[in-house]
Symmetry: C2
Subunit: 249 residues, 2 copies
């Protein structure tokens, strides 16, 4: 039995002053702070953006992340990555009180400014979350599947190494076929396009140079399926394809 110790402080339709104090308190307590209201958003850093006034949901995380969400889309319309310093201020502009949220970071230098003219709610949540996500169906699961049963790739295949380093990067699975030829395997958990073929090609080229032998190195792309263009590219480059997916488990 767990002791429930999550806490909430919240205020509805606050004045700019009350909103400022609630946010400031939340940040100080390392809470997850949310603000909903009418705001403009300016970003400057790796790129630059401006968003005119609208009603949005802003989340300030204790790790420094900021998210600005509209009522549409999975992605925030504006954001700042973890590692920022959050700041909240009251500013007098055009004869009205404005609430300003600033999230600032360096490397790269970038800044997000959210200016609220109306705030409907400020909430500050504290809680505990010790759990890590357990995920299956990843590329690692596909690799495990092949290592457990190498014949899934082809009869007689012998894996020799995973993540084998080459001048072009790490090869997912490196092994030998029944005839003793070197095989480079690139894994993808989902249907692949031309980019994956190019990636495999780079690895095969690198391994061929590494072995500085004339012995041809086989390249095998393992994925649930390939697009037409990728299939043509595979043929052009003398590469192979094996259809396989991560375990549903």
């Amino acid at each position: 039995m767990t002791t429930e110790n999550a806490t909430l402080s919240t205020v509805n339709h606050p004045s700019v002053e009350a909103a400022h104090d609630a946010i400031s308190d939340g940040l100080e307590r390392d809470a997850l702070v949310t603000v909903f209201g009418r705001c403009t958003v300016d970003y400057e850093g790796r790129a630059a953006s401006r968003l005119e006034a609208g009603d949005r949901h802003v989340m300030l995380k204790p790790d420094g992340a900021t998210l600005v969400h509209t009522d549409e889309g999975q992605q925030p319309v504006n954001w700042q990555p973890p590692g920022c310093d959050h700041d909240v201020r009251r500013v007098r502009a055009d004869g009205a009180d404005v609430l300003v949220l600033e999230s600032l970071r360096s490397t790269p230098e970038e800044r997000l400014l959210v200016r609220f003219t109306d705030v409907l709610q400020v909430s500050a949540f504290s809680g505990t979350d010790e759990s890590d996500l357990s995920l299956s169906g990843t590329e690692a699961d596909l690799r495990t599947r092949i290592l457990d049963e190498p014949d899934l790739l082809e009869p007689g295949f012998s894996p020799l190494a995973t993540e084998r380093d080459t001048p072009a990067g790490a090869v997912d699975v490196y092994g030998e076929d029944a005839a003793g030829r070197t095989v480079v395997v690139e894994l993808k958990r989902r249907r692949v396009g031309p980019d994956a073929v190019s990636q495999l090609r780079r690895y095969v080229d690198a391994v061929e140079r590494d072995l500085h032998a004339d012995a041809a190195v086989r390249g095998v792309l393992v994925a649930p399926s390939v697009t037409d263009r990728a299939d043509r590219l595979l043929a052009e480059h003398g590469l192979e394809f094996v259809s396989l997916e991560p375990d549903p488990g």
Copy 2:
């Protein structure tokens, strides 16, 4: 002057029944609904995942998106894309009332289940947001910069087409150099690695086949900078690099 018509309904420390009703009302009104409390999360679809009990922030958007956020990270720990049907139910489990949120979609078939044992707050926000994000510093801005001033690429360069189709995909900028040689340009808004070099290579190969001529086609990568490995790859493939970034404007 805009009429402020954003609305909020919210309830703190609700019973499971009260939480259910508040969420149900919010979904019906196409509001942006948030729930904070202790929950487990299960996902099954393109992959599968489980997250044990913890305190998290869940957002249900009227477009069907679902986001589950912990107090860390820019990305949600679990989610569902827009286009889902949201459902909320009360379930009796282990002698306790549990609040269940389900977000379901097809193509692909996938489902997210969030089970709350404790709810600290439910809020439902409605508002208006007509504004689109105005963003600068994108790859499109870099293209504009080169089209406006082709000499930035090199003296005498003449752009002939953008997004020119080839069997390998669309070439960012297609043109001729001062000597009349065909030039394929690949643009990247930021520092590039080996993948961008491979991409350019595919396009150059495709254009050479397309022209089925022996006339060598030049490939130029335009980006702020390249990594070591990418630089080596460029040299191996006889490709060129020009350092340029999108306008800071």
